[in-house]
């Protein structure tokens, strides 16, 4: 606290006098740094140090309890040739796409409907937001029933339409669709609320002008609403990429069957094994913490790649 008098100095040199060259620049702001320090201290302890340790770990072999053994780049060499890891990236992207495309369309439609004058607007907003705050585990258990083969709601629906039963959780595509629809259900309402906020920033006189020019509701939507919503759309896309690339609980709970089987296997043909699920299996089923860390860094690179793509998309908007 010896710096305290020093801080008061600049105050003493009353306003108007030219600012003295600040040699103790950083120290003079100690209060501000102290004020933001709790976050950084916590981040250091629970964020940066574990991240750094995982990098260190990825160059070792470790069973989690015994001595660590230096392994050089061998974990990464193994990762590059690991077809299971590559297929888990594929699964993640396919499930993400299956979930995101219908989700954005549905959320947009919902938002437009909510934006038009309806009664009980707040009740609807609350109802649409509810799936997002419900525990994923609970939702996944319910969806397990919905998609079960013989007595599930989904197959009852198909049969009512005169279609054949689908063994949803026992076929590779069925699994992907089931996981994706769970994610769609959970995120549609959340994104609809964000879209709604975006819609409300569009000035009403634009719509008025369009109406005077004789534009119909469909034309108005595609010519005015959609272009002006582009930044919000991109935001939603970024968020859904972030959550989609991390999907873990959904497949894990939906596809866990019996004690005979690994909870992280991802169903037949590993159809539901996402990147994070694969990371868990390698780390906690196989007790291969070194390789698990390498897989985690592989996932990090994939996320970086997607972030760059997203960033480029946003950049292009700014240039336009």
């Amino acid at each position: 606290m010896a710096t305290a008098p020093a801080v008061d100095k600049p105050r003493a040199t009353a306003p108007g006098t030219p600012a003295a060259p600040r040699k103790k620049g950083i120290l003079s702001h100690w209060r501000l740094y102290a004020a933001i320090s709790p976050f950084y201290l916590l981040f250091l302890c629970f964020g940066l140090i574990p991240v750094g340790f995982s990098l260190y770990l990825s160059f070792h072999r470790w069973d989690g309890l015994g001595a660590m053994e230096f392994a050089g780049l061998s974990q990464y060499k193994y990762l590059i040739g690991d077809s299971d890891f590559w297929s888990s990236i594929g699964n993640t992207i396919v499930i993400w796409a299956l979930a995101t495309v219908p989700m954005i369309a549905l959320a947009m439609v919902t938002a437009v409907m909510l934006n038009s004058a309806v009664r009980f607007k707040n009740v609807y907003r609350f109802a649409y937001f509810l799936p997002n705050v419900t525990s994923v585990v609970a939702v996944a258990i319910i969806f397990g029933s919905v998609f079960s083969t013989n007595f599930g709601l989904m197959n009852a629906l198909l049969q009512a339409l005169g279609l054949d039963q689908v063994a949803w959780l026992n076929t590779p595509w069925g699994i992907k669709v089931a996981i994706a629809s769970l994610m769609t259900w959970q995120w549609t309402g959340y994104n609809a609320i964000i879209f709604l906020a975006g819609l409300q920033t569009i000035p009403g006189d634009l719509y008025e002008a369009a109406r005077m020019d004789g534009a119909g509701p469909v034309q108005t939507f595609f010519r005015i609403t959609l272009p002006l919503m582009r930044p919000v759309l991109l935001f939603v896309l970024v968020i859904s990429t972030v959550t989609g690339l991390q999907s873990f609980t959904e497949p894990q709970v939906l596809l866990q069957t019996t004690s005979n089987d690994s909870t992280f296997a991802g169903g037949p043909d590993h159809a539901g094994r996402t990147m994070v699920l694969y990371f868990f299996q390698q780390t906690f089923d196989n007790n291969d913490f070194g390789y698990g860390a390498a897989v985690a860094w592989g996932i990090f690179l994939v996320v970086v790649l997607f972030s760059i793509i997203n960033w480029r998309l946003v950049q292009r908007r700014d240039e336009a």
Binding site: R31, A34, A35, S37, P38, L41, R61, D63, G64, L65, G66, S74, Y78, G81, D84, G144, S145, S148, T149, N150, F151, G152, A167, L169, N170, T171, P172, Q256, T257, T258, S259, N260, D261, S262, A265, P268, D269, H270, Q281, F284, D285, N286, N287, D288, Y291
Partner: protein
């Protein structure tokens, strides 16, 4: 009155003090328990809560036993505290399926032989005792329960299919896999929509468990490509070829519904699976019987207690442990939590010989007891999980997706060779 600036300053000082205090106390985190506490970690259903309470009362004059039920992924939480060397429990439950991965780290635990464990050895099943011994001879795990695999079946459905339905007859006439499969064909023909087996893993897994070898041997050599695994694989493929497998996903509401309707009248499961039946399909009470598992006895699951190196009073911990797991308390464990005793003396005790209404008044111990004593001893390697999984995954693809068995086997083997090479297991 405090000025705003003063308030801010005192707030900051408080934050800083808290942060510093946190760091300072961080250095003083105790490795193990403190005071007169004796901390015991287990999981829901891992020990009988009544027996734990009784132990608390019994040893209260010497220590205060703090028994904590740890939820979630138990093993990772335990090794996290052990690796972090902070708040390590004195006594720790070790799950059976994780046991192989603790054994190479025997230095983390107290060798129970040094506490006089040998004199309790004769009380426990020998094969179970051996599973708690590390390669260097250290005794780490003290036996809690075991999981003898038996054949649960619904006699009414078996009778309808013209199959034997009295437990003794089922044990005798469906005693081999071949007889069991033939019965499955008959069942399918006579009872519409009924299947003998829920999925392919119930054949494959139990067949492997019936053997004395698994996937990796003591010399760290991969043996999952040998005859014993191949036999289990071929048997599972045969069950699929003969159309004995249902298309139901095990453990789902579908499976429960099918069981209730008598379409899955047979289950090969460990003794603890009886508890699952009672919870999942309570309406089938009285409709079940227990017989021997076709192909011979096998074990699935069962856990241990261990004393960690952080324990300050290993002798006391061992005293509590041996009391908690004595034959009388093991009976309590079976009654409360379905933990099948690892102490043969318990099998003759009154409460275990009580007729079970869920099984139509059958004394299930007549089947389970003799099974428990004849379980083959197999070596469990810490690499078994990693090297067994690709084979299980591929047999599942054969069972569910109808993948060509030859192709599936070859892919499983090439994947195993790659993983073995990565883990330093010789092929």
């Amino acid at each position: 009155m405090l000025s705003r600036r003063g308030l801010l300053r005192s707030g900051l000082a408080g934050t800083a003090a808290t942060a510093l205090g946190g760091l300072a106390s961080g250095c003083a985190v105790p490795t193990g328990s403190t005071g007169r506490d004796m901390v015991l970690w287990y999981w829901n259903g891992g020990l009988s809560p009544k027996a734990v309470d009784a132990a608390k009362a019994r040893f209260d004059s010497e220590v205060s036993l703090k028994a904590l039920q740890i939820g979630g992924y138990y093993r990772s939480k335990l090794i996290t505290t052990m690796t972090g060397r902070a708040h390590v429990p004195d006594i720790a439950g070790l799950k059976g399926e994780d046991m192989a991965s603790y054994l190479p780290n025997s230095a983390q635990f107290v060798d129970l032989r040094t506490l006089g464990a040998e004199k309790f050895k004769s009380r426990y099943l020998d094969w179970k005792w051996q599973q708690g011994v590390a390669d260097d001879g250290t005794l780490i795990g003290f036996p809690i329960d075991i999981g003898p695999v038996v054949h649960f079946y619904q006699p009414a459905v078996f009778e309808k299919a013209g199959l034997p339905y009295e437990p003794a007859d089922v044990s005798r006439e469906l005693g081999t896999w071949e007889q069991f499969f033939a019965a499955g064909e008959q069942l399918k023909k006579r009872v519409r929509g009924a299947y003998l087996l829920v999925d392919i893993l119930s054949v494959y897994e139990n067949s492997v468990n019936q053997g004395t070898k698994r996937y990796v041997d003591r010399d760290k050599h991969f043996i999952g490509d040998q005859e014993h695994v191949r036999t289990a694989w071929d048997r599972a493929v045969e069950a699929r070829r003969r159309g004995l497998l249902s298309s139901i996903v095990n453990g789902t509401p579908d499976a429960n519904a099918a069981v209730e309707k008598g379409q899955l009248p047979s289950q090969l499961g460990a003794a603890w699976a009886a508890g699952d039946l009672k919870v999942n399909v309570p309406k089938t009470k009285g409709k079940w019987r227990v017989a021997n598992c076709p192909g011979g006895p096998a074990n699935n699951g069962g856990s241990f207690l261990a004393v960690t190196k952080a324990c300050r009073e290993p002798e006391r911990a061992f005293e509590i442990m041996t009391w908690l797991l004595n034959p009388a308390n093991q009976v309590q464990g079976f009654v409360d939590s379905g933990l099948f005793p690892s102490t043969p003396a318990s099998y003759d005790m009154g409460q275990l010989r009580a007729p079970d209404a869920f099984f139509g008044g059958q004394i299930t111990m007549d089947v389970m007891g003799p099974t428990a004593e004849r379980i083959p001893v197999a070596y469990n390697s810490p690499y078994d999980v990693a090297l067994g999984q690709p084979i299980k995954d591929e047999i599942k693809n054969v069972g569910v997706l109808g993948k060509d068995p030859k192709k599936a086997w070859n892919e499983a083997m090439s994947k195993c060779r790659r993983i073995a090479d990565h883990l330093g297991v010789s092929v």
